[in-house]
Amino acid sequence: MEFFKAEDVVKDYAGHRALDRVSLSVREQSVFGLLGPNGAGKTTLIRIINQITAPDSGEVYLMGRKLKASDIQHIGYLPEERGLYKKMKVGEQALYLAQLKGMSRRDALRNLKKWFEKFEIQPWWNKKVEELSKGMAQKIQFVTTVIHEPKLLIFDEPFSGFDPINTKLLKDEILSLRDQGSTIIFSTHNMGSVEEICDHIALINKSKKILDGNIYDIKEQYKLGEYELETPELGELNPLFTANGFELLETDIRGNRQLAKFRKADGESNREILQKLTGTLDVSAFREVIPSMNEVFIQVVEQANQKQ
């Protein structure tokens, strides 16, 4: 089911278009990756979802209805630029932020207790934030983002500044929140984490959406028809590959094995390629190269920039 939808959203700042007719659709209970280079307009879109700013034209829907002021309590937002009041005590502050999200003091206390136990951070309750390390403060920030059990969670560069242990903790929590029913929008440059946790992505470049869809479909779509092959035969391979209509990209001899990277001609199936090669070559390994999200990202953005 569609949980969140943006339709032809446009946002202008004095002489600069931040979003140009951007449409998105996020399925319920999925992790949606919002990708794009710096300054592409991701943060503007996120601020529109959080009603920090309003679109100049276009509509935004949540759970099938137009976004309204009270939806704020269904959204949890961890901004890229984030922090806490340094002089305030941890517990008091978490309680305050939860109440600002519309929770009653009692509910907020109950949920906070649960999360503090889960992260084993109860002893911090009466500490001031300035006494905490950066990693500790990040945990508190995460807790205050999810404390009101939001249906939509938005993380803007959540892993920036997190140490590996907290990164893993956060990843696990994001996935477990999804499994419990939350929908997650996840904005990042870190393509590695996109592959690990996103189901769908949209790529925004220079205020326009230039790509979206299921992560596996996209990778499939951006395959370059490249393959990797491993063989014990150490002789010259180029004549054989050229004769079969393949373009040999590079070879590398490692010990008693030779590695070859090549590109197929259009329209051939993997079975046909294998049949052609195994007739003349002793193949010990054969693998189709699927591009990483990082490669897709660079390819798509560079193409888009060249077009202009």
Binding site: Y13, Q51, I52, Y77, P79, Y85, K86, K87
Partner: protein
Amino acid sequence: MNKALLILKREYLTRVRKKSFIIMTLLVPFIFAAMTILPAWLAMQDDHEERTIAVYDGSGIFLGRLESSDYTRFHFIPREEYLRVKEDLKSSPFYALLFIPPNILSANRAQLFSDKQVTIDVKNGIDRRLEQILEGDKKQTVIDQIGIPDLEQKLAATHTNIQLETIKVGEQGETVKSSTEIAMGVGYIAGFVIYMFVMMYGMMVMRGVMEEKTNRIVEVIISSVKPMQLMFGKIIGIGLVGLTQLAFWVIIGGAVIAGVQTFGGGEGVQSVQATHDLMSTPGMAAAPMVQEQQQNMAIEVIDMVGNLNLWLIVGTFIFYFLGGFFIYASLMGAVGSAVDQDEDAQQFMFPLMLPLIFSIIILFPVVKNPEGALAFWASIIPFTSPIIMMVRVPFGVPGWELLLSMTVLLASIVGVIWVAGKIYRTGILMYGKKVSVKEIVKWLFYRN
């Protein structure tokens, strides 16, 4: 609970609970009281020192006529002793040595020797005594020459002292005893208090906004509440902190003054009188008269303070206090939102503070002439009116002027809040960019 209220509560409580706030609130009235009482107390301390002054009277006029007071005694010595003492003042038992030359009547000159600088009270006391004795003698000579009986008493009877009562006639012809001095005092204090609080608490708003911006918590908060709720919650919360502090100061100050009047006050007044004693003619029964006069004056002061339209003053004070605070605090908040660092705030703060500083500069001219053109315009223009109108109110201001000033102030507050809100909404999300005035003007036309 309403979210703006939640913010207000946090802004208020975190500040009121701060140690620095509590200390300031409790200490300042005492420091203030100490500053008023200390001089009298110090004067009292000085008087306990007993001093003996040796006198060599070459003229023979003063022998036996220099009256000693409680702490200052005069001891007449012959010429040989005078010469000896003068040689070695330090080891002599005398505080100082007074030499009266034989020709004092024509020379009008005497000398006071001492090893240390003599105190001003001692110097003035001796000076006064010599003058009075000589003057009395000369007068007596003249009286004797003219030969009119009881001339001295007749002359004394010509001494005149006029007390000019100022009485204000109200619109219905009712008369109220007024005092220009008291109106001046009340106006000056009220204007200055507003200046101080607007400055102090306006800066507090600015720092609060900057804190949220530099701590990077602001985006988290405005994803829960509207920026205007955050701004208003903060301004009103901090305004209440200011009112709380002022209320405590009034209460504690009142209690301290009442306490001093009950317990230490009499002594203080007496000690001041003791100092007076030494300076004036001793034994002329002046003290009781002065005291009585002072008591009458105190009653009259209380009377006339009561005659000021207290409710009007308190009411307008609260209005202008809050109005001035609102207008400046919202602008200072906008400045805080636009900058990343304290240093960058300076260039915007200076033009903002100019009208405040200007108000303080023209405070004296306005107090002297509360009906003048300067006073009128400065009490209508909204950036100076909170201070200047408050200075004028105790003198009595025509109703329409007060109404005009208040209306202009209220309208300006609405306008200023609109401008400040626009700047604030854009500014708090602007990181790592040094903004110029031109840039800020652009923000005013952003749609949010």
